[in-house]
């Protein structure tokens, strides 16, 4: 299993980082975290899929609307490393149960301090993950705006 957040690390460094965490089984339909929860752990998806959702008012009722799905190898919950350390989405295991490695923020920061080279690589990988999310949603936003403009121009 190659984790996007651990790209470029030596196998020894990967083992050290993974050893900081704990494996969690998330039953199907169970929330890993919810929007607004304190974010003190970062998750690496090992098995299954994690659905990320946002609450939306649908017919006067709050519903969790699909935003994105994370697959094995991908990271979930990088709010644990970004102030104010609160999750901005809700994460739920999809149809099948999921398995994740939960990495506590404090343990990661201590590891980064002790291993700055590895910490730098992980920080750059995190920037790639966040940057991709930003570009993706920026594109989606523009497409939706374009559609709105076209509808209003008719």
């Amino acid at each position: 299993m190659t984790h996007e957040l651990l790209n470029g690390l030596t196998s020894g460094e990967v083992e050290q980082v993974l050893a900081l965490g704990a494996r969690l089984i998330v039953p199907s339909g169970t929330s890993l975290f919810r929007l607004g929860d304190p974010a003190d752990r970062l998750f690496l998806t090992e098995r299954g899929r994690i659905r990320l959702t946002l609450p939306m008012q649908v017919r006067g009722k709050e519903e969790d609307v699909f935003v994105e799905e994370r697959s094995p190898g991908q990271a979930v919950g990088w709010s644990a490393l970004i102030p104010p350390y609160r999750f901005t989405l809700t994460a739920t295991a999809s149809l099948l149960e999921a398995e994740v490695i939960a990495l506590p923020r404090e343990a990661l920061l201590e590891y980064f301090a002790a291993n700055p080279a590895a910490g730098r690589k992980i920080a750059l990988n995190l920037a790639v993950v966040i940057g991709h999310r930003l570009q993706l949603f920026q594109t989606m936003w523009l497409r939706e705006m374009q559609r709105t403009v076209e509808v209003r121009s008719v």
Binding site: V58, E63, V65, H132, F137, T139, R143
Partner: protein, 111 residues
């Protein structure tokens, strides 16, 4: 004799008045009947329009709104739309062009 003539005159005068009154009464009825062929049309149309108008008024909305699509289906449509839009956005990020950015979606949610 004079009294008899006087009574006869009064009787003839009264009869004349009665005949005139009867004539006037029957003349007004006959003139009404001459107008009537048009009146029934007006009278027939007016009530019909009234009832048809009252039927045309939409019924009051039901207490619980009935939606054409169940909410589960609607949420699934939204999810499919998001997935399709993400795929389109991924294509744009892989090879950014104006055409990719503004490619029309085939998502049934917005079409």
């Amino acid at each position: 004799m004079e009294m008899l003539l006087m009574g006869l005159c009064v009787a003839v005068f009264g009869m004349g008045v009665a005949v005139l009154a009867f004539g006037a009464a029957t003349r007004s009825e006959s003139s009404d009947s001459a107008v009537q062929p048009q009146l029934p049309l007006v009278k027939a149309v007016a009530p019909a329009r009234f009832f048809s108008d009252s039927v045309a008024v939409p019924p009051p909305p039901p207490a619980v709104p009935s939606w054409p699509v169940p909410i589960e289906v609607l949420l699934l449509q939204i999810e499919n739309h998001v997935r399709m839009e993400q795929a389109a956005a991924e294509s744009f990020l892989a090879f950014p062009t104006h055409a990719q950015l503004h490619s029309k979606t085939t998502s049934p949610f917005v079409n």
